[in-house]
Symmetry: C2
Subunit: 220 residues, 2 copies
């Protein structure tokens, strides 16, 4: 059984694995808000326990065991987020920190019953897929809004940033999950994007456009 801290490391390594194959010490340190030296210590421990493969100076990759452990934590995190939003009326920008704590509660029965209570949801309030109890989930293929071309349209189905500030901003702009959008123009000067949503035209910054995920997008 893993400690609270080990679980956080596994989860972060898992998320970093999604974009790069070998996860670097510095990247982990940044995410964990700790120092690289501390990361090296923990990596050795995780390697000893068989959660990661580790070659000095080469970064780490999760083993099958490590990946399963990480997916289990992600599952818990996302189920709790659904609980908070669906049952306790939290906003999507309020759930992250609390779920961050709840995800470490160790009880298989608890999570299975929670899953059932919530009606076996397939995605969390931010559009991220929820692994089932065997760790399986549909690999969703999103396009970042920033990568769409003028004339493209699609549906907002996810976000790649869970900070309260970002989500509140989206809310204010009316950019929530399920909304249909259309790309009208891209500004040369600052890369900001002119889009239609809710029958209105709005301008969003490049930074915002990078973190909005779109599906069902059709050319023109």
């Amino acid at each position: 059984m893993q400690s609270f801290t080990e679980e956080n490391y596994l989860k972060i390594i898992y998320h970093l694995s999604e974009t790069s194959n070998n996860v670097q010490t510095n990247a982990i340190a940044e995410q964990m808000q700790t120092k690289p030296a501390s990361v090296t210590d923990m990596i050795k421990k995780l390697a000893d326990k068989g959660f990661v493969d580790y070659i000095k100076y080469q970064g780490v990759t999760l083993t099958e065991k490590g990946k399963n452990a990480a997916i289990d934590i992600v599952r818990k995190h996302r189920l709790w987020e659904v609980f908070l939003v669906d049952k306790l009326n939290f906003k999507w920008d309020e759930v992250h920190d609390v779920a961050e704590e709840l995800e470490h509660i160790k009880s298989v029965a608890l999570i299975e019953r929670l899953d059932e209570f919530l009606g076996f949801p397939k995605s969390d309030p931010h559009g991220d897929p929820i692994p089932d109890k065997n760790g399986r989930f549909a690999k969703t293929q999103f396009t970042k809004l920033i990568d769409l071309k003028i004339g493209d349209s699609g549906t907002i189905t996810g976000v790649s940033q869970h900070s309260s500030a970002f989500l509140k901003h989206l809310e204010k702009l009316g950019l929530t999950l399920g909304k249909q959008i259309h790309i009208n123009d891209v500004t040369d000067f600052d890369g900001s994007v002119e889009i239609s949503v809710n029958g209105k035209q709005i301008n969003i910054s490049r930074e915002v456009a990078k973190h909005i995920l779109i599906s069902n997008n059709g050319k023109n």
Copy 2:
């Protein structure tokens, strides 16, 4: 803000305070499943932080601050128990350990919304009162079943033991909250008690009778 461990100490000191005024080091050690030496260390820390009053060799008492902190944890524990039983269909003997973890989640909003979601329950699945958000709760006056006399009757409204083994045993005997009971006889030999419940006569050991709490009891 207190650590996980500090919270557990406060909770245990609070519970021990209900029966004795000055809580002893050894008693805390036993409940915490640790050694007296460790307790002395922690007591000093809690005293420094103003949670307890402590005089060497004299045991501890909770300060107002300590008492409030403890009641807050008890509140969380009991609300989570209600959630587990009412919403997730846990049995009353399955909730203790999970609630023991959930009680440490730090979010005022979470607990207030959970309380509301559950309909502001006044007692938990074991009959213990749930403090409101200001820490207030009705001081219930129970009589232990063992203290009733032959001919007395009353209603089961609580238990003073939360172990799964004990609760499962009660369940099997049909001795659940709200049940009406009548004392028929007390065995001289072993102090076991002959009672009527559900229209049947059963015999319960002294040990069991000690941990069943009765209210509305009328003489004869």
